[in-house]
């Protein structure tokens, strides 16, 4: 690759001027003539039969246009509501509005359309909803054996399960010199993008055109879903989104509410807007984590890992939007270490709770469990946890490396990443300090987490490819249309950097278009740390195709050989003789207008649409070190946080830093603050930001980030970086607290846990 003028630089974001000045366009900012507003009547209980649903009083309220229940919307539905990717997963199709019974708290039951949101909510209060309340399934541990079924028609509360077990390995583990067993849990979390879900839909019955403005990770998925659900031909469905206020996985599939709103717009024949409020988002917008894993690890006298056994259990809620993550948990468990083997059994179960939606590293419990049990094992062996890692870590020289679960890694160097992290952190010096301060009575601990991150997953699904359409205009300006889009990832900036370098033009001369189904190639959107790798790869390739053609045409115009030409700032010149040059506009003129100037065999036009498909997985790798102090009040203060990340070549280091920082702080939230709770009857307890705590500026440390670069093989050498921060931070923080307390932290801890009890409400599993 040519060293870039823009790639590799912290180019400031072109998204920012509008966003910092209040001129972004989020879904709630969309206004369509004649638009009415929707609000939902929702179930207040986890499980019940609907005994009576009476909407008459609501319908009579002035300003109310319509009140719809399942009976009204069901006739419009001709296909399943789930995400395209998971249609074959063993999960039930979501229902737009509940009919007959309700299966989780907050499940939508009726929908009001009114002249304002205020009136719509007034009318919701007038809907009479009576239930025969039934005992819900709330405990994932007993769900599989429960007589009560979340989905009676399925005959079981088990979503899916998998098992790979080798009895000889079990014997070897159980007979090992050191056998360490722990059970780790992570609390149920909410993704809490600051912008909740929402949609505006308008159905033009005369033209047969459905227009949707949304907040989503993938506009093409919205179109595919609504085409399937309504039977409206896909080419007549136009989906647009501009700015999206965060998603983190929660906006990967359409919510049942969003689908209901689109259906309501079709039925009512008016434009309808619905924007979820925070209470709705916390209770019913999609949940995450809520899994546990029991691990037994056997080690030899030197600390070599003989093998590990895993038992993973995942609470999928009532209507998960993805299949189980158990398989990936098992495949990634060995992480950056050599192990003799892994036995596993995994199971996902339904409960009468909000469904699981993918959240930034949905399989993250593998890293949490592995990195925590490494520390526990080191403590039992009387070894330094870092030393135990050193003895087992794999290095670049091991590549390609097939881990003990059967996953083959390439292009990573965890040994180097670990060493660099320790160097930056100055581990020996810290240990000295720590022992001094402990002598003075301070409870200070350090936690390390080292992990391998599978990025840009998805060959064989809609996420396996991405396309870019690069066009040069007559004036020599460049437009890149992408099937993927951004919900904060700076795609308009980073993809312009790539195209500008490939074509040798100024970045101001490149525009990026995304988030609009009519004018962008089909694409899988942003999620799974894929847009830099696959969208970036597509942009590279498409711009590269155009560049090759530019050079051929320019060579003809200048009577030179294409190999002798170079591009710079919109001009194509003979290398070493900048006076012999043509502009990109002149080349475009030949390509579009004066086509007789084109060399023989070259088609007119100056554009390319290229679809790029990655290898199955692009592996990234990172190491986090965290130092905490447990204050006498029980508060955990993070004193230092160091990250070394190897995400290959960086398109924009500023953006990469931002992704890591944001992820780390979400991980800190998961380790220390966030926990969505139900009581035994299934009543949600943490329904506002007063009860569901996400980190604020006073809880976060300064995060020291640095990089190594083991490039991937794809164009540009990029690897994904979106999820790693959130994966690595949870074990780093929990290991540090465990070190400070001298006891295993096996669950998330909130300030109140350390405050109220000693030493830990999460408790040791022993």
């Amino acid at each position: 690759m040519v060293a870039g003028r823009f790639v590799g630089q912290s180019v400031l974001r072109r998204e920012d001027p509008r966003l910092v000045s209040g001129h972004g366009r989020y879904v709630d900012d969309v206004r369509v003539p004649g638009m009415v507003h929707a609000a939902f009547v929702r179930s207040h209980v986890a499980r019940a039969r609907i005994a009576a649903l009476d909407v008459a009083a609501a319908e009579r309220l002035p300003g109310v246009r319509a009140v719809y229940t399942a009976r009204d919307l069901e006739p419009l539905i001709v296909g399943p509501l789930g995400a395209t990717m998971y249609l074959s997963a063993p999960i039930p199709s979501p229902v737009a509005l509940a009919s007959g019974d309700v299966r989780y708290p907050g499940q939508p039951v009726a929908l009001v359309l009114a002249d304002s949101r205020y009136l719509a909510e007034d009318a919701c209060e007038l809907v009479r909803l009576d239930y025969d309340v039934a005992t819900p399934v709330m405990d994932m541990e007993t769900a599989a054996e429960s007589e009560i079924l979340v989905h009676p028609e399925r005959g079981s509360n088990v979503v899916s399960q998998s098992r790979r077990w080798d009895d000889d390995l079990e014997l070897a583990i159980r007979g090992a010199p050191y056998v360490v067993t722990r059970t780790f849990r992570q609390p149920r979390q909410s993704h809490t993008p600051m912008e909740p879900h929402g949609v505006v839909a308008s159905w033009d019955r005369f033209d047969g055109e459905l227009r949707i403005w949304c907040t989503s990770q993938r506009v093409h998925e919205v179109r595919a879903t609504m085409g399937r659900v309504t039977g409206i031909p896909e080419q007549r469905i136009h989906v647009v989104q501009r700015d999206v206020g965060g998603a983190f996985g929660q906006k990967g599939a359409m919510r049942p509410e969003e689908i209901a709103v689109v259906l309501a717009a079709c039925k009512a024949g008016v434009a309808v807007k619905w924007v979820e409020d925070r209470h709705e988002n916390l209770v019913a917008g999609g949940h995450a984590r809520s899994d546990r894993i029991a691990v037994t690890m056997g080690l030899d006298h030197e600390g070599g890992i003989i093998g590990a056994e895993l038992d993973h259990l995942e609470d999928a809620g009532a209507y998960p939007s993805l299949g189980s993550v158990g398989g990936l948990v098992a495949m990634m468990f060995p992480g950056a270490y050599r192990m003799g083997g892994v036995n596993w059994s995994t199971r996902a179960v339904f409960t009468n709770s909000c469904g699981r939606a993918p959240y930034r590293g949905p399989w993250n419990i593998e890293s949490l469990a592995r990195e925590q049990i490494m520390d526990a094992a080191a403590r039992e062996m009387g070894l330094d946890p870092v030393e135990l890692r050193r003895r087992n870590v794999i290095a670049r020289t091991d590549m390609p490396f097939t881990n003990a679960s059967g996953m083959t890694y390439a292009d990573i160097d965890p040994a180097a990443v670990l060493a660099e992290t320790l160097r930056r952190f100055d581990y020996p010096e810290f240990l000295e300090e720590q022992s001094e301060q402990r002598g003075g009575g301070r409870r200070i601990g350090v936690g390390v987490s080292l992990f391998v991150e599978p990025t840009a997953l998805g060959t064989g699904t809609m996420l396996g490819t991405e396309a870019a359409h690069v066009k040069v205009s007559l004036a020599g300006k460049v437009t890149v249309a992408l099937g993927t889009s951004s919900h904060g990832q700076s795609i308009a900036t980073t993809m312009a950097q790539i195209a500008a370098d490939e074509l040798g033009v100024d970045i101001e001369d490149v525009s990026v278009v995304d988030g609009e189904t009519d004018i962008t190639p089909i694409g899988g959107g942003t999620g799974g740390s894929r847009s830099g790798v696959i969208g970036g790869g597509a942009t590279h390739r498409a711009a590269g195709h155009v560049r090759d053609k530019v050079l051929r045409v320019a060579a003809e115009l200048m009577e030179a050989a294409p190999e002798d030409l170079e591009t710079d700032r919109g001009r194509i010149q003979v290398r070493g003789t900048p006076t012999r040059s043509v502009s990109l506009a002149q080349v475009a003129h030949a390509a579009y207008v004066d086509t007789k100037l084109l060399p023989a065999g070259v088609e007119p036009g100056l554009e390319a649409l290229v679809r790029y498909s990655t290898p199955a997985i692009t592996f990234a790798n990172a190491c986090h070190i965290c130092v905490v102090e447990i204050l006498p009040s029980g508060q955990v203060e993070i004193l230092r946080y160091v990250v070394v990340e190897d995400c290959g070549a960086m398109i924009n280091p500023m953006v990469v830093h931002g992704q890591i920082s944001g992820g780390v702080v979400q991980g800190i939230g998961g380790a220390l603050y966030e926990r969505f709770c139900y009581d035994e009857d299934g009543n949600p307890l943490t329904t506002t930001f007063m009860d569901y705590l996400i980190p604020t500026s006073t809880e976060v440390p300064f995060i020291e980030i640095s990089h190594l670069n083991s490039p991937a093989r794809g164009p540009g050498g990029y690897k994904g970086v979106g999820e790693g921060g959130a994966i690595g931070a949870v074990p780093a923080v929990r290991n540090a607290i465990s070190d400070a307390l001298g006891a295993d932290v096996t669950d998330g801890v909130r300030p109140c846990d350390l405050f109220e009890s000693t030493p830990l409400a999460g408790g040791s599993s022993r």
């Binding site: 000045s21 001129h23 600051m194 700015d243 944001g662």
Partner: protein, 168 residues
Amino acid sequence: MHDGPGELSVTVEVNGQLIHGRVEPRLTLADWLRDDCLLTGTHLGCEHGVCGSCTVLLDDRAVRSCLLLCAQADRCSVTTVEGLASGPDELSPVQRAFMECHGLQCGFCTPGFVVSVTAFLAANPAPTDDEIAEALSGNLCRCTGYQGIIAAVRRAAEHMAEARGEVS
């Protein structure tokens, strides 16, 4: 909006312009700004006073417009994120600093932060790091991990000191 007999008339100076309106008593200031004044830069992230996305200046004090009724702003002056810069093609020093320091990703929380920081730096032009963290703690951001935001506050303070002719 439906006309009701109980409507109140209000006059509010919004970003330097006097706006007259008739509003339902229960209409929040945030909804009035967004829906009636079409100033959609003021965002709603919780509507219960925690996230700070809806922060505006009410007579130069940072307030949460989701917790105020429009009627409470009658005969007051309100500055929203759209009204902070000195001209339509300008960014304010705080806005510029957010851009320079990658203080935003999705940008949804940003107007609230920018307005809060503007009020904060007006009261405390040379804050310490602890004061910055404290001042930001009433605004939630889910994307940035606050790193870029904290850097942006420092940078904005520098910009403003330079503009006042102080050496930074």
